[in-house]
């Protein structure tokens, strides 16, 4: 168990912060189940509390690809059809109205995207996001601002945990072997006594 807690602690420490502006965003991963079997799929809703109206976001989802594979990304209904996922990079865009122009998104529990993972091998991997370069949550451009092209300064991510467990058929094969090994060990100890 100790070995499982370590990556979680690491993931929590990896809560990411992107630069600029005074607004804040808090993200969290909400799983559809506690665990996923090898070969099966699990979904995570990536939710966000967004203080200030944003026009879009751009970040990378981080996880251990040996344990799981990101198989599908469905953006929340608040986001524009031009939103896109390129591998593990998610680019979300707020809707654009031909008449009203660019719309914005803000509020609590905003669904950024639903991420589907399939389990590859038993183990547990942290789910997190990372920002590099100019990535972040983008605010509306402000021609009179100190930074006319601002991004949200304070972005925090509550890391998720994706636990992959052996599929039941494998477990059924493994259990007799485990119990057998235990019986043999006890029998040897009894014989010595």
């Amino acid at each position: 168990m100790k070995s499982l807690l370590a990556p979680l602690a690491l993931a929590a420490a990896l809560a990411c912060v992107a630069p600029q502006a005074d607004a804040a965003v808090t993200m969290r991963f909400v799983p559809s189940a506690a665990t996923v079997n090898v070969g099966q799929t699990i979904a995570f809703d990536l939710l966000a509390d967004i203080d200030e109206p944003v026009i879009g976001f751009d970040f990378e989802v981080m996880f251990d690809p040996l344990l799981a594979t990101l198989t599908d990304v469905t953006f929340g209904s608040a986001w524009d059809p031009f939103s896109m996922a390129i591998g593990a990079e998610l680019i979300g865009l707020a809707p654009f109205d031909p008449t009203l122009g660019q719309q914005t998104v803000n509020g609590d529990d905003v669904l950024l995207a639903t991420l589907s993972f399939s389990g590859n091998a038993p183990g547990i991997t942290a789910l997190n996001v990372s920002f590099s370069g100019v990535q972040g949550f983008y605010l509306e451009p402000d021609p009179n601002g100190t930074d006319p092209f601002p991004r949200v300064q304070d972005v925090t991510t509550q890391a998720g945990a994706l636990q992959v467990v052996p599929e039941p058929a494998t477990l059924a094969l493994l259990l007799p072997a485990v119990f057998g090994a235990g019986w043999l060990s006890r029998r040897r100890q009894t014989g010595r006594g």
């Binding site: 026009i55 751009d58 031009f82 680019i91 654009f96 031909p98 660019q102 370069g133 983008y138 092209f149």
Partner: protein, 852 residues
């Protein structure tokens, strides 16, 4: 002359030292074909940067390249005069020095001034040696000819006219003004002097060196594209040592040049080697600022009575005889006879109205009250000119001259024995010339730098005789614009900043910690137009600091912040920081000002800190420094353009260039969209050099012993609020694009020019191969390189239907997250030119959409 007894000053040689060029037997290989480029991707989006070897003389040491773009149109043609049908261009001219001559016996080398003109937008360059003095000698040292080496040509153009000035060791005429037996009030005539550096300065390593004299060469390009370079003309005699020439011009009026002449020869200052320093910043007493000019009407007339030599005709009208602008010469009175400068005897009512007896003797006092005791020296002059129209329709120019001057309280830059720091150093003087054709001579001008204040009381500090004390102010530069840049309404002009002066100032002496002070004038150029007070535009408030070693100053500043209150602070308020190399440009009410700055001056001298390139901007001509023109805008911190990651390198040679004025046809139209000025565009560049211990430095702009590394550039198209970058493919972080970045080559001293539209950038720089054989053969050498960068204007109307709307957004989205080289990348949507289309570009597109 043998190099063992008479070394010439190496001046720029040390920084642009000679590589092992004997390997370059096949110099003919250096063709003008487009060359491969190994640097980072270009901001401009060019697949292959447009590079040309401007000097194309790799086996000759090339230095001091300069560049100007002319405003006339000529038919496009190659350097071989092969026409390019149907295309017209603005010609460009670059100048540089090349080591043209090497004495086969002594090994002494000498440089010539070269000029190269391009009439095909930089593709080819037609070169000519315009000084032709390197293999000539006007003086012998110890029986050996000293050859006509030149130094640091300066270049100025106006319409189709070009003026190049330089100082040279070749001074064949002792009477270049043709005074003959006439009056010589300023002692222009005389034999070429020499200085024995061992005897005078205890510097045997510098040998015996002849004085330099000032030269000029005129050129013109006709609308047919024909280029004429006139025979060079000697302006000063070499009786004193000429240096630091600075030409300027005014449209329709003509050209003028100022320079300094040291009667005892170029003072090496505190430099430890002949290549360091020798810049003319440290001068001997009686070093004066001199002046000469030529009107446009006389500029291009040819003297047809004189044979054309080397294809160069002789100018019919020489530049005017040199005159002393400043009053540093001595006029002594001995036994009732006025001696010294003849003008004192010739015009005693003006220049010897009364006499004053001092410890050193009896001296003239001018009618203006100046004592001509010869205890001051002036240096590093600047000049600007602005055209005016007389009532009879004649176009002339008013002009301003500024320079630094020693205080007359000790030797050179100050009395080394003086305990009062205010006895050290220099102050800044300013002269206004109402008409450049008739300058006031032997004049004190006005003191531009402000009296020092007592750090304890804030009151002016005074000498016992009641005169004001001054801090050490030096290196003055102008940022000037025509009144037309302020508008046509006289009230607008009166309220508009027309002239900005920036200079370094600090309590301590040369090379010590200093700040940049800014003074500005509104509505004109007379001294009376200067506003009261000066702004400290470089120094911030120290927030935190920590102890450090004594050699690093004892205090290391670790955080700081610029506030509006800092603008009013004295130089001593923050004694830890240092600023250098101030530059700027002004377009209307927009003033962009740049400088290099370090928070820890002492540590930076030991390479334990470094200088970065900072820029700040004002939208009211320097009155305030705020984020935007809006009244609600907040105070803007200076922006760090260079953002060097560590102390391995430091910033040198920052450049700030605005767009020139619009070039209109007689009917007011524009022949090309490139001719219409975009006043919101400014280009900036800087060099990096190795960061070394600079305690030995003499030239405050250029660290000693440092090796230039690379050149970078950026630009703003929103008057300073944002700056273009490229995206580093590894870190995915934005960074400045490389102007010249090649391993194994030292690249520095960039000169930038742009079209009025700001859509094309032209640059030249010094390129010095460091001897690494892995450098491609085309880049092995010492040359002036040229680059043309086409900065396409932002296009938000991506479908070209005349508006910015949802349809353009669809096109934009097709390129989102695509980078250069990827299928689908649309460079038109890469508004920040970082090589990728990101949501930052989308924000910029949104601004355009919202404006639409």
């Amino acid at each position: 002359m043998s190099t063992g007894t008479a070394l010439r000053p190496r001046h720029s040689r040390r920084r642009w030292s000679r590589p092992a060029l004997g390997l370059l037997a096949g110099a003919g290989l250096f063709a003008l074909a487009p060359l491969a480029w190994a640097a980072a991707q270009s901001v401009s989006g060019e697949a292959t940067p447009f590079l040309r070897n401007g000097s194309n003389s790799p086996s000759q040491a090339t230095t001091k390249s300069k560049l100007e773009a002319l405003t006339i149109y000529v038919p496009a043609m190659s350097s071989a005069d092969v026409a390019i049908a149907g295309v017209s261009v603005h010609p460009m001219v670059m100048t540089y020095t090349d080591t043209t001559y090497t004495d086969p016996v002594t090994g002494q080398t000498a440089d010539d001034v070269w000029a190269a003109v391009s009439r095909d937008d930089g593709a080819t360059w037609k070169r000519i040696n315009i000084s032709r003095s390197a293999e000539k000698s006007s003086i012998q040292i110890n029986g050996v000819p000293y050859y006509g080496d030149v130094r640091k040509p300066s270049l100025k153009t106006e319409d189709n006219l070009m003026l190049v000035t330089w100082s040279s060791k070749y001074c064949p005429s002792g009477d270049p003004s043709g005074i003959g037996t006439g009056l010589d009030p300023f002692l222009v005539k005389g034999p070429q002097g020499i200085v024995d550096y061992d005897a005078v300065y205890k510097r045997p390593d510098l040998g015996v060196v002849p004085f330099s004299c000032l030269w000029a060469a005129r050129g013109m390009i006709e609308t047919s594209g024909a280029i004429t370079w006139f025979a060079p003309e000697q302006i000063s005699s070499g009786r004193r040592d000429a240096l630091q020439d600075f030409p300027f011009s005014a449209k329709g009026a003509g050209f003028a040049v100022v320079w300094q002449e040291d009667p005892e020869g170029l003072n090496p200052g505190q430099a430890k080697g002949p290549g360091e320093g020798m810049s003319g910043a440290t001068v001997n007493k009686q070093t004066d600022i001199w002046y000469s000019r030529i009107t446009k009407a006389q500029f291009s007339a040819i003297d047809t009575t004189v044979p054309v030599v080397d294809g160069k005709p002789k100018a019919l009208y020489p530049m005017t005889g040199a005159v002393r602008v400043t009053d540093n010469a001595a006029c002594k009175v001995e036994s009732g006879v006025i001696k010294g400068l003849p003008i004192c005897e010739q015009q005693p009512a003006t220049y010897c109205a009364t006499t004053v007896t001092l410890d050193a003797g009896t001296f003239c006092r001018t009618a203006a009250g100046v004592i001509l005791d010869g205890d001051t020296g002036s240096s590093r002059p600047n000049i600007f000119m602005q055209p005016k129209t007389a009532s009879d329709g004649t176009v002339f120019a008013e002009a301003g001259i500024a320079y630094e001057e020693t205080k007359g309280l000790g030797e050179g830059g100050g009395d080394p024995n003086a305990t009062d720091p205010y006895a050290q150093g220099k102050l800044i003087r300013y002269h206004h010339l109402p008409d450049f054709r008739s300058p006031a001579v032997m004049n004190a001008g006005n003191i531009l730098s402000l009296p020092a204040l007592d750090p304890a009381t804030g009151l002016p500090l005074l000498w016992p005789d009641g005169t004001a004390k001054y801090e050490n102010a030096r290196r003055v530069r102008f940022i000037v614009q025509g009144k037309g840049g302020c508008g046509t309404d006289p009230a607008q002009v009166a309220a508009c900043t027309t002239l900005v002066t920036v200079y370094k100032q600090g309590i301590d002496g040369q090379g010590a910690s200093s700040d940049i002070m800014l003074r500005r004038a509104k509505g004109g150029y007379e001294f009376s137009k200067f506003l009261a007070g000066a702004q400290n535009v470089s120094s911030p408030t120290v927030l935190t600091s920590e102890p450090t070693s004594s050699e690093d100053g004892g205090v290391k500043v670790t955080s700081w912040q610029w506030t509006e209150a800092d603008l009013a602070r004295q130089s001593w308020a923050n004694p830890y920081d240092d600023s250098r190399a101030q530059r700027g440009a002004m377009k209307g009410n927009t003033l962009l000002f740049g400088y290099t700055w370090t928070p820890n001056w002492a540590a930076a001298r030991n390479a334990n800190d470094k200088y970065d390139f900072f820029v700040r901007w004002s939208y009211d001509g320097g009155a305030t420094w705020r984020t935007t023109p809006a009244n609600a805008a907040t105070f803007a911190q200076p922006y760090n353009i260079s953002r060097l990651p560590n102390n391995k390198s430091t910033v040198i040679e920052p450049r700030t260039v605005g767009t020139p004025g619009s070039i209109t046809q007689p009917d007011g139209s524009f022949k090309s969209p490139d001719d219409k000025q975009n006043a919101n565009v400014f280009f900036l560049s800087y060099g990096t050099s190795t960061n070394v211990d600079t305690n030995a430095q003499n030239d405050e702009d250029e660290p000693a012993e440092a090796t230039p590394e690379d050149l970078f550039y950026t630009w703003t198209d929103d008057a300073g609020r944002t700056y273009k970058t490229v995206l580093n493919k590894t870190t995915r972080l934005p960074e400045n694009d490389a102007l010249a970045r090649r391993d194994g080559v030292a690249e520095g001293e960039a000169q930038l020019r742009t079209t009025p539209s700001g859509t094309r950038l032209y640059a030249v720089w010094n390129h010095e191969w460091l001897g690494d054989q892995s450098v491609p053969i085309n880049f092995q050498g010492s040359d002036a390189w040229f680059r043309r960068i086409v900065n396409l204007p932002d296009t938000y109307d991506l479908d070209g239907d005349g508006d910015v709307d949802a349809a353009d957004r669809v096109i934009f989205m097709a390129s989102l997250n695509k980078c250069k080289g990827q299928v689908g990348f649309n460079p038109d949507a890469d508004y920040d030119n970082d090589g990728c289309v990101t949501l930052v570009d989308y924000q910029k597109w949104l601004l355009a959409d919202q404006a639409n």
